[in-house]
Amino acid sequence: MSEQPPAPLPREKKVPVQVTRFDKVLGQRRNLIYIVVGALVLVVLLALPPLGVSGFWLRTITQAYVLAIMAIGWNFIGGYTGYAAFGNVAFFGLSAYVTGILMKKVGVPFLPSLLTGALFAAAFAVLIGLAVLRLKGHYFAIATLGVAEATREIIADDLGFLLKIPGDLLGLIGLDKAAESLHAAAEKVAITDGPRGIVLPFFQPPFQIGDLTKVQIEAWFFYYLTLSLVILGILGTWWLIRTKLGYSLVAIREDEDSAKMLGINTTWAKVTAFALAAFMAGLAGGINAYWKTFVLPEEVFRIGHTLEMILSTILGGPGTVLGPALGAGIFTLVSSLLIFKLKLGGFHVMITGLFIVIVIVFTPKGVGEFLTGKKPLALSSLLENIRRYRV
């Protein structure tokens, strides 16, 4: 009798599950199509400035990139860790101020100032985070909101009280001379110039490119700088979620107590995520300061910035790699069109607000879910959220 080994099974080809009409249209090569489209988009974006696109569009797209940087940062703490921070504009503003102060008053060039500003924001986040990340859910959100507001007031007040309080304490224990000098210093100190704000030095092109004007070189500089930071941010997110830290963050989001029982150092993980978010927001803040050439407390600590980055992340899909950038792009595009083409300038804040309302009610997990096929592209998906959570 000859014993033959059983014939090997034929290799089964992996077919992605086709759930939705969207999937069926794209067919089995859906992922490949996405990669090709993504590469094309990247090439187009890289080539935009040399193609002679108008200044308006370059500025708008650069604005979108800045928002995307902030949103990518927020995604770390809000999307992946599940701690919805409402005060990230504090990091944006602090970095803007540090960058501005270093450039204007100390004369440091741009890139080192930017880096210092972002690192300062991250350090601040670590300090605040250790206190605030103990709180859960809405308490954490309001606490971070309070941090942002308090930071704004302190900066607008020009830090005088930091010298005034020790001065008064010294006066109480009788060291009047020292108290006097501290008080005098508090009057004279002008670190942040209070509510007047700081004006930064203008951009000076380091070298000449063809026959472009100074203004155009400036536009190109900021465009490529922000674009490369967005790409780095996306790659960084993609890498992060494959590290132990990334998995820890998702574990914290899903069930923090179980994560602690598994031995994850949740405090360290949360603070790291918070610091990363602050770093990204800080980069955006420093770039914004140099780009707009001025910093004002009401502008750089405006709560609208936080709302925009949260909205972008949620719109694109929180907890995804491309979500924040996608959402930032959609939001900036729509609001720019509404503001500049339809001349609805005074309605900017209202547009953001309405966007938030619509996104929250209809697509709380963002449009990313439609693209990855998890949700069918039908009206019922939009109403699903309402059906689940209405009274």
């Binding site: 919805a84 809405h138 606490a143 309070g146 804040v349 938030i356 309302v357 929250i360 709380p364 959570y389």
Partner: protein, 288 residues
């Protein structure tokens, strides 16, 4: 820096207004379990209704309080019934963001209608008050605190002795049990929210007489309402009153020492309470 006695009196008077603002916030949080970031909007709108009634129709500000309350009651009812109710059982952060978005919309609308200038309501009797030694007590603020207490009392009576009030309390205690008892949840939620809004509007009307009003005052008042409710403890009317007066003391004395850092002080109080005693002074109970 004012004298100690004047500060103390100011704190007492401010406490009344703050209590009224925080009362509505506390009811909405206790019964609907949503943190209404729009609360400041109702304060602002109430203030502007009184301002408009006074400036364009010549109606005395105290007389316009019922009107501002009524108008904002209607607005709050519609908002809750047809918008916020759509996602009310979602996680807290969803309604958080929703009310925040709505706040942005309303602030923008207010900016477009009334512009960003500071306005106030000054009547013939605005500056008049009792003078006891070094302490000045304006009659307006005295009336304000009286109205606050009156409204708090009315609220308590409403909650305890009327059918709707009892329905609201039962929904706050146990939603499903209330439903089983035949309470209609959607209108009850809407009425609760509307009451909160109306109280805020009354506070706004009083504020328009004593402070300058401008559309961006919204954030400050919402933050203070939140801090007071956390400080006093979610649950009963006395808890809110306690928290309001405690907070008023901190704000007046802190504000006279470090002017310009009002929100920073409020935030510092908040963090302190959350770290030391998260349930507030009077502790969290179901809404009494």
């Amino acid at each position: 820096m004012e004298g100690f006695a004047q500060n103390l009196v100011n704190a007492m008077l401010l406490g009344g207004t703050l209590a009224l603002v925080a009362l509505g916030f506390s009811i909405v949080w206790g019964v609907l379990n949503i943190i209404n970031l729009m609360h400041g909007v109702f304060v602002m709108l109430g203030a502007y209704v009184t301002y408009s009634a006074f400036t364009y129709l010549g109606i005395d500000p105290f007389l316009s309080i019922p009107f501002s309350m009524l108008i904002i009651f209607g607005l709050g009812y519609l908002l809750q019934r047809y918008l916020i109710n759509l996602v009310i059982r979602a996680p807290l952060l969803v309604t958080f963001l929703l009310t925040f978005g709505l706040e942005m919309v309303f602030v923008n609308v207010a900016l477009l209608i009334w512009k960003g200038d500071f306005r106030s309501v000054t009547t013939g009797y605005s500056g008049v008050g009792l003078v006891l030694g070094a302490v000045k007590i304006p009659y307006i603020r005295l009336a304000g605190i009286a109205i606050s207490f009156l409204l708090a009392l009315l609220l308590h009576l409403f909650m305890t002795y009327t059918k709707t009030g009892n329905a609201i309390r039962s929904v706050g205690m146990d939603l499903d049990a209330a439903r089983l008892m035949g309470v209609s949840i959607a209108p009850t939620y809407a009425v609760t929210y509307a009451i909160g809004a109306a109280l805020a509007a009354a506070a706004g009307s009083l504020i328009s007489m004593t402070f300058p009003i401008y559309p961006n005052m919204v954030g400050s008042w919402t933050l203070r309402a939140f801090v007071i409710v956390v400080l006093g403890g979610l649950g009963s009317i006395p808890a809110v009153l306690l928290g309001a007066f405690a907070f008023a003391l901190v704000e007046v004395f802190g504000g006279s020492y470090l002017p310009g850092l009002k929100d920073a002080i409020a935030f510092a109080v908040l963090v302190l309470v959350l770290v030391v005693r998260p349930s507030g002074i009077a502790g969290k109970a179901f809404y009494k």
